[in-house]
């Protein structure tokens, strides 16, 4: 960390999402801070260390809610699936890879090596037929082999693509949890419209219940990806995409943006934390109690081009001290408002071309955001 001025955002928060100073929780301060220390030491990946910016002002960390999330490493990969979508994808991946290795790679590798050795220049006794260049049988085999493989794969692919379409709601006896996600530069805002809360930096999910997500972007194109839970999907300004996920067991998974969107791109990460339904509702209550109001003013800050750490500094409010930010007062209308606003932009009225161009912001005036972020890096 000290080597450079980069602040790489670490997952300080997920295990203690509610880092409100002096938050009157049901957990004793002593117990939690002790636990924090313990976990800080015990965390094999050193994930508990905090960047200075993020920790400032935080003295207490309520992590009991998140114990499960803390217990292991972050799940990075769909090969270590935490839900039905990812495990379906893993199975499909293994199956396809096996077909390809067994029927494509191995035959080519073995035969080529064998031919090369047997028919090397020095080999005097192997057959040599310099003019032989056609054999109907071999030709047919060369075409038919791949055809068969592709047909086989094609069937698998057709089925898997439809089964795992991210737009397809997951079958479940529980109603899906609605979630709306807005991509900002360089953070995701997770809105729980039915709970009336929102968060940045941590995505809390109840275990065993499908999550129906709508995504949009308030800026450029982004791609939400939580490998251990399931698919990635683009989020685009003025548009709404959908994603369905589910976590099967408590745990913390890596979440990120996969579509480059500027200097803070690599810091646009978060933790998807799956927890038991009870803990989830406790978490929701907690956020209601201590979240920052999601109003015009905080939204103005959020929509700046800034990393999460910069945003926290800008908000300069308690409730953000563990590196994540929690909001109360999120409404159902917010998401569609953002979609519409992004889509319409600022209407331009003039009748003549000259005026039309006059309305565009001067290039020089558009620059500053870049230099602002340079400072932090």
């Amino acid at each position: 960390m000290g080597v450079t001025r980069h602040i790489i955002y670490r997952h300080v928060g997920p295990d203690g999402p509610l880092g409100f100073p002096n938050s009157p929780t049901t957990f004793s301060e002593a117990a939690t801070s002790q636990e924090c220390t313990m976990m800080t030491i015990g965390d094999p990946c050193g994930r508990m260390r905090r960047s200075k910016a993020a920790t400032s002002g935080s003295s207490v960390c309520v992590s009991a809610l998140m114990l499960a999330g803390c217990s292991g490493d972050t799940h990075l990969s769909f090969l270590d699936p935490q839900g039905p979508v990812a495990s379906g994808q893993r199975w499909h991946f293994v199956e396809s890879l096996a077909v390809l290795l067994v029927f494509v790679a191995i035959p080519v590798f073995v035969l080529t090596a064998w031919f090369l050795w047997r028919y090397r220049y020095g080999a005097k006794s192997s057959r040599y037929t310099p003019k032989w260049n056609y054999s109907a049988l071999l030709e047919i085999a060369s075409w038919a082999g791949p055809v068969v493989i592709v047909v086989l794969l094609g069937i698998i692919v057709w089925r898997a693509t439809h089964a795992l379409d991210p737009y397809k709601p997951l079958a479940s006896d529980q109603p899906a949890l609605r979630l709306q996600i807005i991509g900002y530069d360089w953070k995701w805002l997770f809105i729980y419209p039915d709970q009336g809360i929102a968060s940045i930096g941590v995505l809390a999910l109840p275990v065993g219940r499908p999550v129906a997500i709508q995504l949009t972007s308030a800026t450029v194109m982004q791609s939400l990806h939580i490998p251990a839970l399931g698919s990635q999907i683009y989020a685009m300004g003025g548009m709404v995409t959908q994603l369905h996920l589910q976590a099967d067991r408590p745990g913390r998974s890596l979440g990120e943006n996969n579509m480059y969107n500027g200097n803070g791109f690599h810091q646009q990460r978060f933790s998807a934390v799956a927890m038991t339904p009870e803990r989830f509702s406790a978490w929701v209550d907690e956020v209601h109690l201590h979240g920052i109001a999601l109003n015009d003013q905080s939204l103005k800050h959020i929509s700046q081009r800034s990393t999460r750490a910069e945003l926290i500094a800008a908000l300069s409010q308690p409730g953000a001290s563990d590196g994540n930010i929690y909001f109360k007062g999120a409404t159902d209308a917010l998401f569609s408002t953002v979609v519409k606003a992004t889509k319409s932009g600022t209407p331009v009225a003039p009748a003549s071309v000259r005026q039309e161009f006059a309305n565009r912001a001067p290039l020089a005036a558009r620059k500053p955001t870049e230099s602002a972020t340079d400072k932090v890096q």
Binding site: V220, S223, N258
Partner: protein
Amino acid sequence: MSFAEQFQHPLGRLSLESLPFWQMLNDPTRGNVINGVIGTAAALMVVIGTLVTIAMITKYRKWSVLWSQWLTSPDHKKIGIMYVVLALVMLIRALMEALLMRAQQAFGLEGGFLSPDHFAQLFSTHGTIMIFFVAMPFLTGIINYVMPLQIGARDVSFPVLNSISFWLTAAGAALVMISLCIGKFSTGGWFGYPPYTEASFSPGVGPDYWIWALTLASLASTFSGINFAVTIYKKRAPGMKLMVMPLFTWTALCTSIIMIFAMPPLTVAMAQLALDRYLGFHFFTNELGGNMMNFANLFWLFGHPEVYILVLPSFGVYSELISTFSGKSLFGYRSMVIATMAIVALSFAVWMHHFFTMGQSANINAVFGIASMLIGIPTGVKIYDWMWTIFRGRVRFTVPMIYSIGFIYLFVLGGITGILLASPTIDYQVHNTVFLVAHFHNVAIPGALFGLLAGYHFWFPKAFGFRLNERMGKVSAFCWIFGFMLAFFPLYALGLMGLPRRSVAYTEPSYVPLEIAAFLGAILLTVALVTLVVQLWVSIKQRDKNRVFAGDPWDGRSLEWSVSAPPPEYNFAVIPVVTGRDAFTLAKEGGKAYPLPESYTDIEMPKNSVMGPVLGAIGFALAFGLVWHILWMVILFFVAAVVTMIVYGFARDTTRIVPAQQVQQEHRRWLDAVAAATGISRADEYQSANQGLAEMTIHEVPA
């Protein structure tokens, strides 16, 4: 500021701030200093490199030779060589950038030494350069050099247009180079998706540099494609029917067809983005009805066929090599041709697999996924036919052959990961992770670049009259192969571990060992390149020992081996008559490889033309003016371009005559040398005894 005002200042947007060290001097924070130093060093290399080159040319008084023998030459062979040199120069930059990126990521746990902005410029320029200004010029150069010789033609159909194509490419390359010294390049990656690259999110000059560089390259490629296609259709030697053409020529034809039809989507995408940026249109903006998804659509309509532009010529090279160095005629010629054409057709029908995750219906995803997999069929046929060519042959493990073997193994792996990506379900997980980065390097390097490198070793003696040092070639080849594996296999694992591409840094300590391995791989690749350069130097030193004037050092099979090395400017003293596939081998077998013509005729050749350099310079200046909003420059050079073309329309008398007598003299001198040379067996290929005359030894060995 209005549109007119933006363009009002005589220097447009140019200012001292555009210099790479400006920020460092004004705000000397640590990060700024590191970036400033790297940037300045890079800019200095460009400037000093240019100055030194100019000084050397002046010192040795080579300007007039350079001008009249090379820069204005319409000779396809010289243009071909200039393309390869351009590729090499650009490669040096792109490789250094790759090395920097790998170093940054190796130390990228929590930071590293590069600023995100700098890193973004690295991957954007690296990708752009490698595709448009390394791979494309390299393959265009090789096609230029080899194809007319293979079909028994004296030149391409439109030699001046050929020169113009080259100079437009060079202008694009120069634009990318100058972005190091003045201003910045785009940070949007090689496909620069809007709205990120729109004026509202990237107001600087970066995307403009990228737009105009690509536009120049795209125009040039369209012209090259047309030129090659017409040449192949209309200038074949008598008897060279389509189904008799060497496979490299076939792939050149197919590549040209892709160039002709795949460049328009790129041109449209670039033009529309430029309209957005310059005139406030709304093609790809968020607001007012813009639709950035159509940019992705247009770009990949170009982008996917483009990757087959990269790989098809190499497929052609492998076909020639494997047949030559197995001492056997190519297995399944007809299948090979059909497969190549199938790849061309299919390449236009799969573009959507680059944005499976955009949200379209599962039906569309599945259709395009399966269509992508179909490409595995013709590609597989090619792989198998190469294997059957080796089968019952006599394989010589020469440098080009080592590349070919490396290719077969590694490309099959890369193809397999391509097939995995073609499954939407899997793509949903690995799209835009470094798994994808591993895939495309895995196909682009062993597929496209190994082939071009092998072709370089194969045809170098033809172009320059002496062979390359074999031992160093082998060292280099093995460094390429193992360096590649070390550099890119770890990325597959990293991608599966969730590392997004274009990450300047990461927080996961478990990535570190793999990242370091990849860095070592990149170093090994650099060693490979250095070895290649040293090899060239050593070979030039030893050239007198390795002359192959007779022209046929490897027992070649097609017409290019039937002339002297290097060939005369008119290629063939007398246009050969072709009787079948492997035309030269047939001639050798029939004892008619070196016929003595009864008479010679005058040969009409195109005169030198300044059109290429002039239009290249104008194109560069026009693009530069556009990038920096320098109005007078834009107008001036636009008018200049139009006027130049009008003036050229009035040009008459553009050919000159090589007198029959001169042709006779040169041809006889070569025939004498052939007569004086001793044929050597394949075992002695790498001895000094190899003067370019192959001993005819076809002894079948029955079962």
